[in-house]
Symmetry: C2
Subunit: 250 residues, 2 copies
DNA sequence: CGCAAGATTGACGGAGTTCAAGCCGAGTGG
DNA sequence: CCACTCGGCTTGAACTCCGTCAATCTTGCG
């Protein structure tokens, strides 16, 4: 088995260096402190990363589908991934957008309960689930970290339920913009203007709205000078305080 | 400090036997296999349960509020608890109803990110968070179990996002009825007719609907012979297959 | 340049909310 | 034992926000 999945490699150069042959790539990982690998020290990293391979997915490619056997878990190291669930008639709920540092593939059942697809070209560290689980016995700190990560995700999920169940379209969009600004800032990425590479349709499926409503609401926020839409999927937040008031329904 | 919280004890008899003095109550716990205590063997149970106290909450009493220091975690052993978040103007999202076997209080921050209130009289096992965390080093299997529980909650949260963002009122109510039927069955409780002790308002706040819409939709399902509303908050499901079709939008 | 996919805008309709009025049932006190 | 009351539930009528359908505009790309 090759050290990374060539089926999806857009640019092979991006995927070097090869783990287990050259230097451990984790040493240079800019987001390690955010991931489940955070508690590993320099001596532990090589052993831990031996079971890891790296994969690159082109924009628009599926990483896995709901119902697939859940035998891989991932760390996102660059790019944007969307995670979603479908109803039989095609209605879709995007349950999250993952960016560098996020964990993908947490599952307790045999199969994934959701699908994952690359929104932009993305790089991921991939772990065979069985091997990772076996390794957790030797690295209890990683297990602790996974629990922490899961708790964070759970808190985010509850916040999203509040948004989906009780916020208006305008409040949803304002919350969405601030969510991304904060997440980017935590990772040292530009937090204003923010880069939103996903489509209006994806945003709608995340917020429980239609494409049209997302578009109209962006226009509305633009008209009231709250934001500016720049080319390349960039959105400038002109009045963060006011956006926060809107997001909280104040 | 007394072995259980007398402030909320409705009937002191219910709270016996006292942990650490008399027999370990966990031995008789009917839902232990569902809780974080599941992996503990009979010799470990007494040590583990030494840090535990039991509390009884009357219907309608607050267990903790969003923003309170999160220094306790709980296992629900009987009754129904609702967990919710509020917007400044009072809009509410119930993020979950907890029943026997459910875990309450998972938090990574200093403070709870949500409030919890007893819907019916409820009994809980309470653990000081710091002591529990300290104990996890000696009981790695419990930590593993907590991760499992958190994963389950996360999967449920994603399912709920799909419901909130993309389902119609009728689909939401059908999903809600089936959710409770399945959860009751897993615990060996009657799964049809099901007992729904929470108010229409609580159900609405869980499903992202108003009281009126919940009521109207119940009436509608009743008219089409899908359910029967019995006294005492009981709901009889007359055609589970059809309800499942409705719940999935088929 | 020309095309296709996505984004925006408009007009209209409908599912669900809001506001308001009755209804029911459990607890209470005369 | 029964009228009274109060909170929650149900029903009705009007409204509104957002979805639907459709046309146009923009943008990235071969």
């Amino acid at each position: 088995m090759p050290p990374f999945d060539v089926r999806f490699v857009r640019n092979l150069e991006q995927a070097r260096p090869r783990p287990g042959r050259e230097a451990v790539p984790c040493n240079a990982c800019a987001v390690r402190h955010l991931t489940v690998c955070a508690p590993l020290n320099p001596t532990e990293l090589p052993e831990f990363s031996r079971i890891m391979t790296r994969a690159v997915f082109e924009a628009g490619t599926r990483i896995f589908d709901e119902g697939d056997p859940a035998d891989q878990v991932f760390n996102v190291t660059s790019g944007v991934i969307k995670v979603y669930k479908l109803l039989p008639d095609g209605r879709r709920q995007v349950t999250g957008f993952l960016i560098a540092g996020d964990f993908l593939g947490l599952a307790n059942e045999e199969d994934y309960a959701y699908s994952a697809e690359a929104v932009t070209a993305a790089r991921l560290c991939r772990f065979p689930r069985k091997k990772l689980e076996a390794m957790l016995d030797s690295f209890p700190a990683v297990e602790r970290q996974m629990l922490l990560v899961a708790s964070h995700e759970l808190a985010a999920a509850q916040e999203q339920m509040l948004l989906l169940g009780r916020k208006t379209a305008k409040e949803k969009i304002a919350s969405f913009l601030l969510l991304f600004s904060v997440r980017y800032r935590k990772r040292g990425l530009p937090d204003n203007p923010i880069h939103l590479p996903m489509s209006r349709n994806d945003i709608g499926d995340f917020l429980g709205l239609t494409t049209e409503t997302v578009s109209r609401t962006f226009t509305q926020l633009k008209s009231s000078q709250m934001i500016r839409l720049l080319p390349g999927g960039l959105v400038e937040l002109n009045d963060v305080d006011h956006l926060e008031d809107i997001a909280e329904g104040r």
